[in-house]
């Protein structure tokens, strides 16, 4: 393995992962809307069509349901498709194939088949694209046995989790926060995988555990820095995988800090934080809690267009700061 590390953007890291996968394995190919000469709506596929040709970087018509189904069928029969949704919101059009077909096929056929399918979903708010182009729907898919659901927060993990997803024999759904695409970070050259189902402790601390997903990891780290200057040591856990969830890492952390905040962009109610909280409440870490668990999630509203409203609709650094201070200071 080549271990040279350079700085790449999150989008470049994903593109590199797809290129490596296509070079290693003839069966890997890309499908999606405007991923060819256009380079993808967020320039993630970039110029891959020029390197690999239109047969392996396939522009589909605007047909999410059919396209997703074609990817399922190809995965079922020996190919390794990577299907890009132009926006994660459009998964709504393809839910039938994702939920009723891809997720259940192996089970329904008694283990006789597998569906090694990867789907990529540009997700989240912050771009002024309003209610139908800004959602965080990882909890929808996280609710479905048979799917694996990941949310890389760094360029390193964006590449590693994608390569792990391609190796995986089951359908893996990857949510990529749009505001992360331009973020740069260290990425090793060559092939490596980041384990699906494993959370990562991004910062150690003893006073409060902050479990965060996707872009919220960065907001939590920013908050932790400020908290440190106030004498509060926050432990920041990047959940990375929504399903299957890494219970051990979170339980161990909560036992250490006795306080838990979950911060995620999806709508708060019935979201990822509900699962993390319930999991802790059911575990032996419950006895270690010194304070109620706090969930910071998206507001109970579609994402609005006005930029100030849009910001107010999802957790921000000051919200994390306030929750952490209140928890540690015993304010209820």
């Amino acid at each position: 393995m080549d271990t040279t590390i350079r700085e790449l953007s999150y989008a470049q890291a994903i593109q590199e992962a797809m290129a490596i996968a296509m070079e290693r394995d003839e069966r890997v190919f890309l499908m999606g809307e405007d991923i060819g000469v256009y380079g993808g709506a967020f320039q993630v596929t970039g110029d891959l069509v020029h390197r690999f040709g239109e047969d392996r970087v396939m522009d589909t018509p605007i047909s999410e349901l059919g396209g997703a189904g074609v990817a399922v069928g190809a995965a079922l029969t020996g190919m390794r498709p990577i299907f890009e949704f132009q926006f994660s919101d459009f998964a709504a059009l393809a839910m039938e194939q994702i939920v009723n077909q891809a997720a259940k096929m192996r089970y329904m056929l008694g283990g006789a088949v597998s569906v090694p399918l990867v789907m990529r979903f540009p997700a989240g708010s912050g771009t002024g694209a309003a209610a139908q182009h800004s959602q965080s729907i990882e909890a929808w898919l996280g609710h479905v046995p048979g799917l694996k659901v990941v949310q890389p927060a760094t360029p390193h993990d964006a590449k590693g989790l994608l390569l792990a997803a391609i190796e995986d024999p089951d359908p893996v759904m990857i949510f990529e926060h749009k505001l992360l695409y331009k973020m740069k970070g260290p990425v090793p050259e060559g092939y490596y995988t980041t384990p699906i189902g494993k959370a990562e402790i991004r910062r150690e601390g003893k006073d409060v555990t902050i479990v965060a997903t996707a872009i919220m990891v960065h907001k939590a780290l920013e908050a932790a820095e400020t908290l440190a200057s106030e004498g509060i040591a926050a432990e920041v856990i990047d959940l990375r995988t929504v399903r299957p969830m890494d219970r051990e890492t979170i339980i161990a952390s909560v036992k250490k800090t006795s306080r838990l905040i979950c911060v995620y962009e999806g709508v708060k109610t019935l979201g990822v934080g509900a699962e993390v909280s319930a999991m802790i409440a059911e575990s032996d870490a419950f006895d270690f809690l010194d304070a109620p668990i706090v969930r910071l999630g998206g507001a109970e509203t579609p994402i609005p267009y006005n930029p100030e409203l849009e910001k107010a609709a999802v957790p921000q650094v000051p919200d994390i700061l306030k929750s952490a201070r209140d928890l540690v200071n015993g304010v209820r």
């Binding site: 405007d34 000469v37 256009y38 059919g66 919101d89 579609p302 609005p304 409203l309 107010a312």
Partner: protein, 347 residues
């Protein structure tokens, strides 16, 4: 109404009234002037929006309909305020053609409380519901079945109203399109499907995305008329719309109209135009601009002169300036209203 036009159009129309294009037979000079004004208002609205974006006054993205004004205006000519439309992500033109105020449209763009969606929707959702616009749409094809549902209401409620569903060529490959057309036909609903075929769904040409040569060819599969018109010729569009609206009002069922047109600008603000040539774009702009074409026709048939055109332009300019000023000075939404209208307030 027709007689007045013949009188007006006489100088150049010795060949007789039936040789005039439809719009010049059917509409008075005043009405034709209004149609030109609307096309011009759409053009200037889009340019104003683009400029505001460039100057950093607007966030998000937008899809401009510059070059497609004739289909928006031509289709809506036979519609009344009671008739309805569903629109698309490229919907500013439909919205204006259906009678919206540009001031409240700009206000929506600027994210203001005075905008049509109170700043919640932005470019992709601007609509004046009071004028029968059931919404622009961020989802390609999303409005098509909704239009069929609205047409079902119109039929059940015996209103005599019709519904127009605008969509792009790209939408004709969504399942919703096919399911909706089939139901509309089976139930003989008063709906007109209007495909604005500008040759591309984002970067993908219809040749690469669509198995048939014309979207109108799909009509045969759903046993309804499929009509192809020059979407940049206002009169041709209006003629097809009139026939389809008549048919719908008389309970004879839906029609699919395909307007062949072109968008002058990129798909959205992030388009680098890698999928079409400069020559192609320039040719459409120079030779097939719908506004220039209509102005030329109006002059040819003696309906308007250069001074008349200039007067319309000046008038539109004033309206656009005032609208932008209204939008700029309007109040922003109150943050406390973040979750307002998620549900109906039952209190």
């Amino acid at each position: 109404m027709g007689d007045k036009i013949i009188a007006q159009a006489k100088p150049k129309a010795e060949e007789g009234r039936h040789n005039l294009p439809f719009a010049f037979r059917h509409y008075s000079p005043g009405e034709l002037g209004q149609a030109l004004r609307k096309m011009y208002l759409i053009r200037r609205f889009e340019e104003g929006a683009e400029e505001s974006y460039t100057r950093g006054l607007i966030h998000g993205t937008m899809h401009l309909s510059i070059g497609q004004e004739a289909s928006a205006v031509g289709i809506s000519l036979p519609l009344t305020d009671d008739d309805m439309i569903t629109s698309t992500h490229r919907g500013h033109g439909h919205c204006i053609a259906k009678g919206a105020e540009v001031s409240r449209m700009f206000a929506e763009f600027f994210g203001k409380e005075t905008g049509y969606c109170r700043g919640r929707g932005g470019s992709m959702h601007i609509a004046d519901v009071s004028k029968g616009n059931l919404g622009a749409n961020g989802i390609v094809g999303g409005g098509i079945p909704i239009a069929v549902g609205a047409a079902l209401s119109m039929k059940k409620l015996k209103t005599g109203r019709v519904v127009v569903s605008y969509f792009g060529d790209g939408a004709n490959n969504e399942g919703a399109f096919h399911e909706a057309l089939n139901m509309a036909s089976v139930w003989k609903l008063p709906v007109i499907f209007v495909c604005e075929n500008n040759g591309y769904g984002m970067s993908t040409s219809t040749r690469r995305s669509t198995a048939v040569a014309n979207v109108a060819d799909r009509a045969a599969a759903y046993a309804m008329p499929g009509v192809i018109v020059d979407g940049n010729d206002l009169s041709d569009v209006a003629e097809a719309s009139h026939a389809a609206v008549e048919r719908a009002r008389h309970g004879e069922g839906p029609t699919l109209i395909e307007c062949k047109t072109y968008r002058h600008r990129g798909h959205s603000k992030s388009d680098r135009n890698r999928y079409r040539t400069k020559e192609e774009i320039e040719d459409w702009i120079a030779n097939r601009d719908p506004i220039q074409l209509f102005e030329a026709q109006m002059q040819e048939y003696g309906v308007i002169d250069a001074a008349g055109i200039e007067a319309i332009r000046t008038d539109v300019e004033r309206e656009i300036e005032a609208a932008i000023e209204f939008a700029k000075t309007s109040p922003a939404p109150d943050l406390a209203g973040l979750t307002r209208d998620v549900y109906t307030d039952l209190a």
